[in-house]
């Protein structure tokens, strides 16, 4: 690495490939290198059997049948395929144009919806409550004349878990096709594909390789989607292209391992999260958790530190690999669209958010060091902040006529 390695706290961005996953993948680079679609020799058959075993491992993890799993290049492709494939496919009702998603979704979902809007579909990007959860009553009303809903199971910035069980019942009752982006959910909580029509999975979020993901396409009830690529008609015609055997094997092994470790990983994350809550959130004035604490996974903790700009805090915490949706870190100079959607009346919070993720390699002493650094730098940066000083003097920041630039 070019820079001194910092302690990794960014597991929602990606995870390292587990050593046992790497080991399972190893023979498939050059030893068992056949094209899994070759029908005429053992090279192909061996590769095919490895791919099918991986497919079964993925299916088993989400309570699906193996012929309901389509391999893709990752969750972005799975989301694109689910959304565009359904809406442009044969199951899209002819008499409905309305398709729904939420403002806190991943960019690849929101951009897919924008694409469909440009094609004439009635796109509605719904707001969420300030705790990140969906307003189920509002959703039920919106579903009345809708054809399709895409929602993420667990938000990648806040860790908020949506009530997919309840949303599934509503969608079934109203005949709305339900797509769930479960990239952050598989391996964190039990996921039941039988509740949904389409479900996306990512390999590298669960200690598997990058460049592989999967889309669950339900056969019961049967969901049909259009393909996005023209080609040889692999993956039951839904996703043409030679499957990367080695990556499929990696995904299968990673999914299996992540289910075995799910309880242990969850409890460790819970313990670490509680320490940060006790030592930082509850100890320092005005530090908040973004997202419903009683409906989130502990692996992702998003905090807002008002009066301190997110990037400056991350820059001070350079010994730790953290992320912020804040203005300066993203190329677009946009603050987090997720935090903004949760607090439309308080854009400042989006500039002050910091995401801490706990993963398999997180050690207790790393969390102790993180806590000490957070305490120190939040205090120091607040002593630098004109906003903090105004608030200490009793000035209401909303009464000031700021000049936006």
């Amino acid at each position: 690495m070019t820079n001194k390695p910092s302690v990794y706290f960014d597991y929602a961005a990606t995870t390292p490939c587990d050593a046992s996953v790497l080991k399972a993948m190893e023979p498939y680079w050059n030893e068992c290198f056949g094209n899994p679609h070759s029908r005429s020799h053992a090279y192909g058959w061996d590769a095919e059997s490895a791919v099918e075993r991986a497919r079964t491992q993925v299916a088993w993890a989400i309570n699906a049948q193996s012929d309901e799993v389509i391999f893709t290049s990752g969750a972005t492709e799975a989301n694109n395929l689910a959304i565009k494939g359904f809406v442009l496919g044969p199951n899209m009702p002819k008499n409905k144009k309305k398709i729904l998603t939420f403002a806190t979704e991943h960019k690849c979902v929101i951009e897919s919806f924008r694409f469909l809007k440009s094609m004439g579909f009635e796109v509605k990007i719904l707001p969420v409550l300030s705790n990140g959860l969906v307003d189920l009553d509002m959703l039920e009303n919106e579903l009345d004349d809708a054809a399709f809903l895409s929602i993420m199971y667990i938000n990648n910035e806040t860790g908020v878990v949506q009530d997919i069980g309840a949303i599934s019942k509503m969608c079934r009752a109203k005949g709305v096709c339900l797509h769930v982006d479960a990239a952050q959910a598989v391996g964190k909580i039990p996921v039941n594909a039988r509740d949904v029509d389409l479900l996306s999975i990512s390999g590298h979020k669960l200690y598997g390789p990058k460049g592989i993901g999967a889309l669950f396409v339900s056969k019961s009830p049967r969901v049909r989607i259009a393909s996005l690529f023209s080609g040889g008609g692999q993956e039951r015609g839904m996703r043409s292209g030679t499957l990367p055997t080695v990556l499929c094997v990696g995904l299968g092994a990673a999914v299996e391992l992540t289910l075995e470790r799910m309880k242990e990983d969850f409890e460790r994350a819970q313990h670490f999260q509680q320490q940060v809550i006790d030592q930082v959130i509850n100890k320092l004035p005005e530090v908040y958790i973004n997202g419903a604490i009683d409906s989130k996974i502990p692996h992702i903790l998003n905090i807002s530190v008002p009066y301190v700009e997110g990037e400056s805090l991350i820059m001070r915490m350079h010994e730790f690999a953290l992320s912020s949706g804040s203005a300066c870190t993203s190329k677009s100079l946009e603050p987090s669209h997720v935090i903004r959607a949760m607090h439309p009346d308080n854009e400042d919070l989006a500039h002050s958010s910091l995401r801490v993720c706990f993963g398999r390699q997180t050690k207790a002493e790393d969390v102790d060091a993180l806590i000490r650094a957070l305490q120190k730098h939040i205090e120091e940066l607040r002593s630098l902040s004109p906003l903090w000083s105004m608030v200490q003097k009793g000035i209401d920041l909303k009464t000031i006529n700021w000049q936006a630039h």
Binding site: Y307, V308, E309, E311, S312, M315, R316, S326, A327, C328, L333, P335, E347, D348, H351, S383, L384, S385, P386, L387, W388, S389, L397, W402, Q403, A404, H405
Partner: protein, 125 residues
């Protein structure tokens, strides 16, 4: 993004942090930016015989905004009002080797020092 040595030095050890009494006759205070944009700079100057005797800042913003402010306070102390007003944002950006995406931080710092001088001048009128 990699930061320059200069930015990191001012960011990690900011110089001249503080505020001044804005009601005093010999000070000028200005606040520029907006919380919603992610940058707010507060500059205070103390003037004696048309010369900046002392300068202080407080900043809410990214590392480059904090570094630009810290650098500028050092730069203006001892300068006449006229000299201080002539410091360009470009010279700040160059001195700190700011990447183009952060040039607005130097613009903001320059606006803040100008505003503080104007505020002082208004009091004298």
């Amino acid at each position: 993004m990699a930061y320059s040595k200069e930015v990191l030095e001012h960011f990690n050890n900011p110089k001249n942090v503080g505020e001044m009494d804005e009601n005093a006759q010999d000070t000028g205070v200005s606040i520029v930016g907006a919380p919603a944009c992610g940058d707010v700079l507060q500059f205070s100057v103390k003037i004696e015989d048309d010369r900046i005797k002392d300068a202080k800042f407080k900043a809410f913003g990214c590392g480059s905004a904090i570094a630009s402010s810290s650098y500028l306070t050092q730069k203006v102390i001892g300068k006449t009002l006229e000299e201080a007003a002539q410091i360009s944002n470009k010279s700040i950006a160059q001195a700190l080797a700011l990447p183009p995406i952060k040039w607005h931080c130097s613009v903001l710092a320059q606006e803040a020092i100008k505003g503080a001088i104007e505020n002082y001048k208004k009091k004298q009128a």
